[in-house]
Symmetry: C2
Subunit: 315 residues, 2 copies
């Protein structure tokens, strides 16, 4: 099966379980930036982020026997929420390994979708040990949040939908964290985009492992991840890195204040709620304006899960 068939089959497979999200425009932001701009609103996706696409596809690709034993992942963010919701919809048991000190709101997002939260210590070691134990005990299949081909293909369907409506985009910009959305977007652009379409990624300067990986040619890890874009603190993996290395036009790093400013522009002008990770993509466009001048740009707004009690605006 070639890439096109793979993505099209996935699109059909997950169609009934996901939202075919809205594409918004903003005259105000366009006028300011001198671009044609199209925002693919994954903040309106079920579970509040694009992760629902990959989670749903990954579960649907399992055999009956596998499904009967459930799925497991480690995440305290959007993938946990998405996998729990997708599993619930598909009648599959779902286990989420999460540090015991994860915020209550994160645990709750899993619990309300009837996922089971398995607590571990807040270390990589503990997480993998606990995850291994539970896989052994339950026989559940591990679904990695971003370094899994079925997840990547699932994430590609957002750009596919965007290109179906706007096939003449010159550029697509997405945020990069674990690399699933970026790799999926690259694959979709290669298949459904016009000749010469470019995919850029935005990354917080404070967690610039993908940028460093691209330079060094090897997967690099963050020493610290002190960024408000909590969805982008993770690192690339061996499944998505080759796709990214080959296909990304560039990774642009943005500062924390640039992320918050872009987030404010989206909230104030578009009247929609996006999380800081989503704002990173617009921050790239604002920062590197000359690079994109006069181009037709698609931006994937990756999600809208924020804690309203802890917003970065009030001073």
């Amino acid at each position: 099966m070639d890439k096109r068939q793979e993505i099209e089959a996935c699109s059909a497979r997950i169609s009934d379980y996901i939202e075919h999200t809205l594409i918004m425009e903003s005259k105000h932001i366009e006028n300011f930036l001198c671009n044609d701009l199209y925002f693919k609103c994954e903040n309106f996706q079920k579970s509040g982020s694009f992760k629902m696409r990959g989670a749903t596809n990954a579960i649907l690709q399992l055999s009956e026997t596998q499904r009967a034993k459930g799925v497991i992942t480690h995440s305290s963010g959007n993938f946990a929420h998405a996998l729990a919701l997708a599993a619930q919809k598909l009648g599959v048991k779902c286990y989420i390994v999460m540090p015991h000190d994860a915020p209550y709101v994160k645990k709750n997002a899993v619990l309300i979708n009837r996922g089971e939260v398995i607590e571990c210590a807040p270390t990589m070691d503990s997480r993998e040990r606990v995850c291994g134990q539970w896989m052994e005990e339950t026989g559940a299949t591990f679904i990695h949040p971003s370094n899994n081909r079925d997840v990547i293909i699932g994430q590609s369907t957002s750009a596919k939908e965007l290109l179906a409506v706007h096939p003449d985009l010159d550029v697509i910009i997405v945020p990069v964290g674990g690399g699933g959305l970026l790799a999926g977007t690259i694959l979709a652009a290669q298949v459904f985009g016009k000749e010469g379409i470019e995919v850029y990624a935005g990354e917080p300067l404070e967690a610039d492992d993908a940028y460093q990986s691209l330079i060094s040619g090897e997967i690099t890890f963050n020493e610290s991840t002190n960024t408000i874009a909590d969805g982008l603190r993770t690192n690339l993996g061996d499944v998505n890195f080759p796709i990214i290395k080959e296909g990304v036009k560039g990774i642009v790093r943005v500062r924390e204040n640039e992320i918050i400013s872009a987030m404010r522009v989206i909230w104030e002008r578009m009247k929609i709620i996006v999380e800081p990770s989503s704002a990173v993509a617009l921050a790239v466009l604002i920062k590197e304006r000359p690079l994109f001048e006069g181009k037709k740009v698609g931006i994937i707004l990756s999600g809208g899960n924020v804690d309203l009690d802890r917003l970065p605006f009030d001073k």
Copy 2:
């Protein structure tokens, strides 16, 4: 010209200048309330509120001679913003009388649309005196924010668009402040709604002049307006009150905490930004749930202009 013709002509007249706003649904809120629910998103309207509809219609109804001399209103809220933007689009001069202590963000919304801000003292007396002076000096036509037939007909087009897509609504709920949106919605429901469609209004308990007016049969004024729903502090007028008295099914008063809770539900679940005044309509549905059970309900989300630095969520 009958009501139907009047509204249809208005709809055609303003069509190129306004946004035909999105109608959103929310499975989560529906499941919680056991309703079919349709949200008409005037928060996505140009200028950030439904007021753009009435402002545009009112200016378009002026003669060439009147337009040449400009328009004037007193408002420190959404109507000021809308009238300035509509006037700018139509090449008409616009004067806004505003108390000198109005927040900078309100003045700025007028200024960026090239409206002229005329400052007055923060009293009713000063406002009317200053407004009168400027009308005399400039010959500008006064456009009342809500008590003006052209404005009311303009506001009716939101419900008209909603009913064009969902003609079988049992109920429409809107917030009531000055009464323009409520009166317009009643007129649209009478013409485009099914037999027996009901229009309800929501009002803050802290500024319940419309509720009191309905009981007493005479326009009542607020003694205080200590509500977060800043768009709803105004009172009814002699043009819209007869329409409201005859056509509204009921006015439901909601408390401040109920407004904030409903606002939080919309922000968290629908990922869109609405102002407190908009949340009042959903607060009615939540508060009087049995009244609407099993009914197909339309809610007009009136606007999305909030100051992100002063949100009511963070504790």
